[in-house]
């Protein structure tokens, strides 16, 4: 309620930026595909090309990777009314002069780590068991931190979407996300954009 009132009196900041967030390998690219199919414009430069880890592409904006260090973040205003991908670690660095609708992708942490491990192995940077456990703890903290941060910011609304549930019932997720974003998206196309075949990194 207080959040809504504060928003009413805030300066006109245009449409909210849709931020698709989550841990790396939590389904953020899948959600970007859904949004694109549903009719949301995407803020991406296509610089990071599709590869074996993300065969349909990453939907990334290269510059946002430097969000933590960069002081001039005004370029993000181009994202108003569009969707941009930003991993959860970078949510803290989003500037205050925009409104944000955050779609926070959740996925079983073991599956996230298993999927990351495949990338790491390809990069020849294998983790020790101790490192894996440290990362599990660090990512768990990152999830909590992001949720706390979003709840505490007047310019940010957050919805959590579960990867597995989306793969199993894309229509339900399409409907939920569409409602969250105002109800103007093509849910049928969003549903079609989910390819269950990509659900391959499930930890056994």
């Amino acid at each position: 309620m207080l959040k809504a009132l504060k928003k009413m009196f805030a300066a006109d900041r245009g449409e909210a930026i849709v931020v698709v967030s989550g841990l790396p390998r939590s389904g953020t690219s899948m959600m970007m595909r859904m949004l694109e199919a549903g009719g949301v414009a995407i803020l991406s430069d296509g610089e990071r090309e599709a590869d074996v880890d993300n065969p349909k592409g990453y939907y990334e904006l290269e510059r946002i990777k430097n969000l933590e260090k960069e002081t001039d973040k005004s370029y993000l205003q181009e994202g108003r009314g569009k969707a941009v991908k930003a991993i959860s670690f970078l949510i803290k660095d989003l500037p205050d002069d925009n409104d944000y609708k955050v779609i926070f992708m959740r996925r079983d942490l073991d599956e996230v780590l298993a999927s990351q491990q495949k990338m790491i192995d390809r990069l020849d940077q294998g983790d020790t068991e101790a490192e894996k456990e440290a990362m599990r703890e660090a990512f768990r903290n990152d999830i909590v931190r992001t949720r706390l941060l979003c709840k505490g910011r007047d310019n940010t609304d957050l919805i959590e979407v579960h990867y597995k549930a989306t793969v199993e019932d894309p229509a339900a997720t399409a409907s939920t996300v569409n409602r969250f974003l105002g109800g103007h998206l093509d849910e049928a196309k969003m549903r079609e954009a989910v390819e269950a075949s990509l659900y391959r990194n499930r930890a056994s």
Partner: protein, 66 residues
Amino acid sequence: MFGGNTKKVKIDADLFDRVRKVADVAGYATTEEFIVHVLEKEMLHFEDAGSDDDIRERLKGLGYIS
């Protein structure tokens, strides 16, 4: 030891006994002092993302941040 307002928290009796023993061995003046110290340390993980170098290095390695 608490200068300002305080709140009571209920915790399991067995857990409290374990905490008390560790607090004694570790040399804390009181069990409460130990509990506050541990909680403040843990809260930093959630409140201060800048301190998380493990994540930063991992994300750099995977190409998700610069």
